[in-house]
């Protein structure tokens, strides 16, 4: 029962709507990834939900979304489980950045792709090297294989393949997050733990616009 209490208490601190946002975040992660595959885009786009929930509800719910999404993904591909730690870090980072108002401006949002890509690319490459000896699963591994065949050593090949791929992945990801945050109704923000950041920003811009109008 103690588990029950701690989970409930932690979640209560985040407001009621957070618990309903988590499944949606997980679904967004999953469907985003599937959709990228459907359009045959060379990106993963499977962390939109993690960053979105991190940005609206806080780092811990974001991390939870990342962790659960990862577990669901590893049902069909167990090696993915290793990269769960990255998803958790995406969620925590999104919450931390959101509290600093990063997702309220387009430029800052675009810049936030850098730390996300750093986690995904550099830490991802390190994990691949440590756990799988350099060859994991998916399209990235093929590139790594091709690079090693071309004469690079396996460590360099991993960084060369994963860092640019992650930058390419995280820029559209944060852009989608920004677009959704822009389109979200005020009434929903009012009920979300970090909604005040976006409400403050909106009231500030409308206040600034009023005298000119």
């Amino acid at each position: 029962m103690s588990q029950d209490n701690t989970f409930s208490k932690t979640m209560q601190g985040y407001g009621r709507l957070t618990i309903f946002m988590i499944p949606i975040g997980i679904a967004i992660n999953f469907v985003g990834g599937q959709f990228a595959l459907l359009l045959k885009l060379p990106v993963y786009l499977d962390s939109i939900g993690t960053i979105l929930v991190g940005a609206t509800c806080g780092g811990l719910p974001g991390a939870l979304v990342g962790a659960v999404s990862n577990v669901l993904n590893s049902i069909t591909s167990p090696p993915t489980m290793v990269f769960g730690i990255l998803s958790i870090m995406f969620g925590l980072l999104a919450g931390w950045l959101a509290k600093r108002g990063v997702f309220t401006s387009l430029t800052m949002t675009l810049l936030s792709a850098i730390p996300f890509a750093f986690i995904g690319g550099v830490l991802g490459a390190l994990l691949t090297i440590w756990v799988f000896g350099g060859l994991a699963v998916g399209g990235g591994a093929l590139v790594v294989g091709a690079l090693t065949a071309a004469g690079f050593d396996i460590n360099t090949a991993n960084f060369l393949a994963q860092v640019p791929m992650d930058v390419l992945d995280k820029v559209p990801t944060v852009l989608v997050v920004y677009a959704i945050l822009k389109g979200m109704p005020k009434r929903l923000f009012a009920k979300l733990p970090l909604g005040y950041i976006y409400l403050d920003k909106r009231s500030a811009t409308t206040a600034a616009q009023k005298p000119t109008a």
């Binding site: 029950d4 959709f35 069909t76």
Partner: protein, 274 residues
């Protein structure tokens, strides 16, 4: 005549009500094993081949999973999916390692590739061990519906909030995927192209994904209200329509055997060290 109909009706009602009094059954003794015990047993089976060298142990375990699925009557559902995973995940894992892992005994050369015997061996072993883990997870998903696992976890004291998050996630994925398709068709009819060059395809991404995801976020509020109306947030203990049978003694025996298998394989690995 009418009396007969009323009697029949009453009989049917009683049966219907009785169905909720009995512990839930899936009509097969393997699938009726307690969800948590089944999880632990399959977990033990999945990790045993890690400590046994060679290819025979993981291969035997894959075969065992197929046998279990047949015993449980889910073979028709499990085997084709598992074979697909072998091709989609296992084969790729094997080919990657076989092609790129360095070694002394080069089998043949094909352009810049020079697969080695060592690479083929380690690739086959790695791919098979991963496929055993894959098999255990997919078999579990085929054996036990997610709702029964959640019910078992709730009975162990996990809060309904946590089980709600997990169960709704599955539902939300199906719903959202459906929604994305609807938005995609709508946007296509308005002239957005989803095929063609990579630039055209990436341009289609935003106008489809953003409205669908935004709608999903907005729905959370309705869900919250709907669940509040059903006293989801109430502090009182929740009631349930279904109940699970408690684990039977032989199920604990099964678990004991599985754990013993893990212990023996680990000890075997350490004792056989040079």
């Amino acid at each position: 005549m009418q009396q007969d109909a009323t009697k029949e009706r009453a009989e049917f009602d009683r049966e219907f009500v009785d169905a909720f009094r009995r512990p839930v059954s899936q009509g097969n003794w393997v699938r009726d094993i307690n969800p948590l015990i089944a999880f632990l047993v399959l977990g033990c089976l999945a990790i045993i081949p890690i400590w046994i060298e060679g290819l025979i142990a993981p291969l035997a375990m894959c075969a065992a999973f197929v046998a279990i699925s047949l015993l449980a009557g889910v073979g028709r559902h499990f085997i084709p999916g598992y074979l697909k995973l072998f091709l989609a995940v296992g084969l790729i894992l094997f080919v990657l390692r076989a092609a790129f892992e360095p070694g002394d005994l080069v089998l043949f050369r094909l352009g810049p590739l020079s697969p080695t015997w060592e690479g083929v061996q380690s690739g086959a072993r790695f791919a098979l061990v991963v496929m055993v883990l894959c098999g255990a997870l997919t078999l579990y998903a085929a054996l036990i519906p997610a709702k029964y696992l959640m019910l078992a976890l709730e009975q162990q004291g996990l809060t309904p909030r946590a089980t709600y998050v997990l169960l709704t996630s599955f539902q939300a994925i199906t719903d959202l995927a459906k929604n994305v398709r609807v938005v995609m068709d709508a946007q296509k009819s308005r002239g957005i192209e989803t095929e063609g060059s990579i630039l055209t395809r990436s341009k289609a991404f935003f106008p489809i994904i953003a409205p669908a995801f935004l709608a999903a976020m907005n729905q959370t509020e309705e869900r919250a209200v709907a669940l509040d109306a059903r006293a989801f947030s109430s502090k009182a203990p929740h009631t349930r329509l279904v109940s699970l049978r408690g684990p039977r003694p032989w199920e604990f025996g099964l678990l004991l055997v599985a754990v013993a298998g893990v212990v023996v394989s680990i000890m075997g690995a350490y004792l056989s060290w040079p």
